[in-house]
């Protein structure tokens, strides 16, 4: 045994020297610039409807892509000065929101004026019919009304699979979350940039995972495959936030067209 250890020692020493000579990675350098699915607290909401979803979102992003993400995402009030400290906000809820205060409206307007992106995720969305029609909850409807007050000069449009959100990392054919919901996402586009994305799919519901490692919500009607596609959509949204319309660049066009043509997965 001792002899074996003696033989192993030179190798271990050499490995140690090699590790020592390698440039030391920059520990945690750049975490401030990592993707942070900050939960927006506005209109009386005190926290996201899916509390564990944001952390899981970051975890999935880090596992699947090269993008850094904050595994402990933050929360920010719309009337807090810190609302402009990052380019992304996630507004999740399942109940009707109260009318935004003038301070909240001003804060969100500052955020949008800097080019920030907001995801409005309807955690109360239903898919009773299972036919892909929108089952927006009171949150979804009221949130749209409040956003219309923040950005009165705009109105949402539908984003189909041709939009960069559906190809920013994964090639997706439709939007899905905890519920199948409508095939498209709605969005407010300002100055050519998608700034508000409305999801009637409860994306957070598909991502939420408890401390025990179990998914918190069943995904209907597609089960685990649908959950995987929901995670992919969440990854795509994060990639869109970090890369904007990178995948719309001309250099990607021929590749993506070929893959779209041969894609089997919806």
């Amino acid at each position: 045994m001792r002899r074996t250890l003696m033989c192993f020692f030179p190798f271990a020493f050499a490995l140690g020297v090699l590790v020592f000579f390698l440039p030391r990675p920059a520990r945690a350098f750049g975490d401030v610039g990592a993707f942070d699915p900050r939960a927006l607290l506005a209109g009386g909401t005190t926290g996201p409807a899916r509390a564990t979803a944001a952390g899981r979102w970051s975890w999935e992003l880090v596992q699947r892509t090269s993008a850094p993400a904050r595994l402990k995402p933050s929360q920010v009030r719309a009337d807090d000065a810190g609302v402009v400290d990052g380019p992304f906000l996630w507004w999740s809820g399942d109940a009707s929101v109260a009318t935004l205060s003038p301070q909240e409206i001003a804060g969100l307007r500052r955020f949008f004026a800097l080019g920030g992106v907001l995801l409005v995720d309807d955690a109360g969305a239903s898919d009773d019919a299972g036919d892909g029609r929108s089952g927006a909850s009171a949150f979804g409807k009221s949130a749209r009304e409040q956003i219309a007050r923040v950005l009165p000069d705009t109105s949402p449009i539908a984003l189909g699979p041709d939009h960069v959100l559906f190809k920013s990392f994964y090639l997706l054919k439709r939007a899905e979350g905890r519920v199948a919901g409508p095939r498209t996402l709605d969005a407010i586009v300002r100055g050519g940039q998608t700034q508000v994305v409305f999801s009637s799919h409860d994306l957070g519901g598909a991502l939420a995972r408890g401390a025990t490692g179990a998914w918190e919500n069943p995904v209907v009607p597609g089960g685990d495959l649908q959950r995987e596609r929901a995670i992919r959509l969440a990854v795509n949204i994060a990639m869109y936030v970090l890369c904007s319309n990178y995948k719309d660049d001309q250099v990607h066009a021929p590749f993506l067209m070929r893959r779209r043509a041969g894609a089997l997965v919806p």
Binding site: R27, F35, G86, A113, L114, F169, M239
Partner: protein, 762 residues
């Protein structure tokens, strides 16, 4: 030369009284003549006694009456004979420095000077004013010390000279003589007789012509280079090159090459072509693509046949000011972050920027949990980008990018050469940048403005939050002026910084670490800029600049700080004049062998960062086409006077006479990056491009304007207008008092009446 006026001479003559209008004198004379006629005719018809007496007394009476009316005076005057003013326009363009005869050493200018002297000798009655024409209004040909000036004008514009004469307030000439080889820029070759005649119409004088040269030297040359449109970076520029052989030199075809003179190495071949000559003339079309913007020197050259006696015009050195339609930027990011997002959005928001981006979205260790065809990822075409397409980019941005995993390491020498040959490089910090990205000790590290620690185990980053500190150079740097205008000196707190070494020679630190120092004890650079050969580079050792947009500071400044910072950084990299510390311009085209003047502009008057004493300003000249080992390969330094810049910060410096070639002038303001200007010095230039004389054009000019044509060696007696007589002094004296004329007329009229009465007439 101006011929002296004639000698004064005294002359005396009779005239009618000055108070009598000319028409009255004429009427009086006519009346007298008519009266005489009537008298004579009447007496001839009558033929009676006393007729002769009547006629005689009548004639006397009429003459006396006439004298009483005109009352003659005697005029004594001092007069001079003034020769006609003749302007001799001598060609002072550089083509007159070419030999007169194929084998002779006498120049055309010498022949012209001799002709001028001979003309002065033969035209003593005329006042010759010898002027030289070249560019613009004509000027006296003799310098202050009386020596004839050498032919140095870059053009031979006879039309402008004649127009200037016509517009002059001075005495108009009565004739013009042109002494030239006939190779004029204006009127152009093939000008119609109407156009030639129009040249003399304004002056309303004949234009005589004296041709200095009958035959040109044996010469093959690049006669003309014309470009179709302006030069734009990365866009092919069609060039039409006209070549020719003359003076008995035989050549059927000539090889034409176009090369770009570069500071970082030998001239780069851009295009080559073969021109087939017919009647001694040929044209070849070349297409050249210039990748770098700014003033670029292009050499168009032929391979001359044997027997060529004017080697100076075998190549032309042309300065093309290459514009940028759009700035092409290659943006490569190692991972998507907020900083990458901010930079991409800024690049995409600028319509003048054409950005090609490649982001690493997935590493080998990532598990996307999907098949390849479900991903929108494409291979990173590192080989294609950094070999084939690299020259087409104006700037490369490496943001948080690790060179090792993606095969960039093998292209770092190429990337380094790209920067030295005029490209721009920005390395933006992050956990995969600088030392952590494996760049230390590589060729790319050599073109960064800061040194990188390549020792084993070198620390790559300091993760302590910091707020970068402005250096004195940063406060005065024009490229950060837009940011200072927006955010003053306030900067957001950064999550950490890459470890950078000392700034290299020629570099400048604009932001530094507030506490950390380099090995030499200097504050560690955070933002540094520097010249690298023909190109430039920037090191930004942080990845939190996006907080200029998303932060409390960003909200207060509407996020404009981030764009202002990058506007300055990219603009400086692209040599945008707004962000240059100084500017250089030639006041006039450089001519080989003659001193050139360079205009230096330093907006801050060359003051140092503290605004105190003037910094040392030096212009460094370097040959672009020098071969190693040549004596002029070493840079030449010209010091700019410190006190000279005025309120506008402009000063002119004289460069010593330079041999023909391409040059780059760099203005060094202190230790930082330089401002450069490329220019070319040619021997002869356009004027020597076509060495053939053109006596036919002179002959046609003379014929069209009513002048005469002569060869310089012929008899130069020209038909000038006759001299004019001018009185200098005048005395008028009446021949008799007015009453005596009246009395005489009365008496003679009385005698005539008496005579008539005696003859029985009334």
């Amino acid at each position: 030369m101006d011929a002296p006026a004639g000698q004064l001479s005294l002359s005396t003559r009779l005239a009618v009284n000055g108070d009598l209008p000319p028409w009255a004198a004429v009427i009086a004379c006519v009346l007298v003549l008519v009266s005489l006629g009537v008298l004579v005719v009447h007496e001839l018809r009558r033929r009676e006694r006393g007729g002769v007496a009547i006629v005689a007394s009548g004639v006397l009476a009429l003459l006396a009456l006439l004298l009483a009316v005109v009352r003659p005076v005697r005029i004594a005057a001092r007069e001079s004979v003034i020769g006609a003013k003749v302007v001799v326009l001598t060609d002072t363009s550089r083509s007159m420095a070419l030999p007169e005869e194929p084998s002779g050493k006498t120049t055309r200018h010498d022949v012209g000077a001799r002709a001028l002297a001979e003309l002065a000798k033969q035209s003593k009655d005329a006042r010759l004013l010898a002027l030289g024409f070249g560019e613009g209004a004509p000027t006296p040909v003799a310098s202050k010390d009386g020596e004839a000036t050498a032919p140095s004008a870059p053009r031979s514009d006879l039309t402008s000279a004649l127009r200037a004469l016509a517009a002059s307030a001075e005495e108009r000439p009565q004739a013009v003589v042109v002494v030239s080889d006939g190779r004029l820029d204006d009127p152009a070759e093939g000008a119609s007789p109407e156009n030639l005649a129009a040249l003399g119409k304004e002056l309303k004088v004949p234009i005589h012509a004296i041709a200095t040269t009958r035959q040109g030297p044996p010469d093959a040359s690049v006669r003309r280079v014309s470009a179709a449109g302006a030069a734009v970076a990365h866009v092919p520029l069609p060039l039409s090159v006209e070549v020719g052989c003359s003076g008995g030199l035989s050549c059927d075809e000539l090889t034409v090459t176009a090369r770009e003179l570069r500071e970082d190495g030998p001239p780069a071949l851009l295009a080559t072509g073969l021109s087939h000559l017919k009647d001694g003339k040929g044209t070849v079309d070349l297409s050249v693509t210039l990748e770098r913007a700014g003033a670029r020197i292009i050499e168009i050259a032929i391979t001359p046949p044997s027997g060529d006696t004017v080697p100076e015009n075998d190549r032309r050195l042309l300065t093309f000011v290459v514009a940028r339609e759009r700035v092409r930027v290659l943006h490569v990011a190692g991972r998507p972050t907020n900083d990458v997002r901010a930079l991409r959005q800024w690049l995409k928001s600028d319509a003048s920027v054409d950005v090609v981006a490649f982001f690493i979205l997935r590493t080998q260790s990532d598990n996307p949990n999907a098949r390849q065809e479900d991903l929108s990822l494409i291979p990173f075409p590192v080989d294609e980008l950094f070999t084939e397409h690299l020259p087409s980019f104006d700037a490369v941005v490496l943001q948080d990018f690790d060179a090792q995993p993606y095969g960039l390491e093998k292209h770092l020498p190429q990337l380094s050469r790209y920067v030295r040959s005029g490209g721009g490089l920005i390395m933006v910090g992050g956990q995969n940048s600088f030392v952590a990205g494996g760049y230390a000790g590589t060729p790319l590290a050599e073109v960064l403005p800061v040194s990188l620690d390549d020792s084993p185990g070198a620390t790559a980053a300091d993760v302590a939050p910091i707020t970068p500190a402005w250096t004195e150079d940063g406060r005065t740097a024009p490229l950060l002026a837009p940011l200072r205008e927006v955010a003053s000196e306030e900067l957001p707190q950064m999550p950490g910084a890459n470890i950078l070494g000392d700034v290299r020679a020629g570099g400048l630190v604009l932001w530094s670490h507030p506490t950390r120092t380099t090995r030499t004890g200097a504050p560690m650079p955070i933002l540094a800029i520097g010249d690298q050969g023909d190109g430039r580079s920037i090191a930004l050792g942080i990845d939190g600049a996006w907080q200029l947009e998303f932060s409390q500071l960003g909200a207060r400044t509407s996020g404009r700080g981030y764009g202002a910072m990058w506007d300055g950084l990219l603009g400086w990299l692209m040599r945008d004049p707004r962000f240059e510390p100084g500017q250089l311009d030639l006041t006039s085209p450089c001519v080989a062998g003659e001193p050139a003047r360079l205009r230096v502009r330093a907006p801050d008057g060359g003051r140092d960062a503290s605004g105190g004493s003037a910094r040392e300003m030096v212009v460094e000249l370097r040959r672009l086409d020098a071969r190693s080992g040549e004596p002029d390969a070493a840079p030449l330094k010209v010091e700019v006077p410190r006190h000279a810049p005025g309120a506008t910060g402009t000063v002119e410096v004289t460069l010593p006479p330079l041999p023909a070639g391409g040059y780059t002038a760099r203005l060094k303001l202190g230790p930082g990056p330089t401002t450069r200007r490329d220019f070319a010095c040619e021997a002869g230039g356009d004027e020597w491009a076509d060495s053939r004389p053109d006596p036919d054009r002179l002959r046609a000019l003379a014929a069209a304007t009513g002048g005469s044509f002569r060869w310089a060696n012929d008899d130069l007696a020209l038909p000038f207008p006759k001299p004019a007589v001018v009185s200098a002094e005048r005395h008028v004296v009446p021949l008799a008092p007015p009453w005596s004329w009246t009395l005489a007329a009365a008496v003679l009229l009385g005698v005539h009446w008496f005579t008539r009465r005696r003859s029985g007439l009334s």
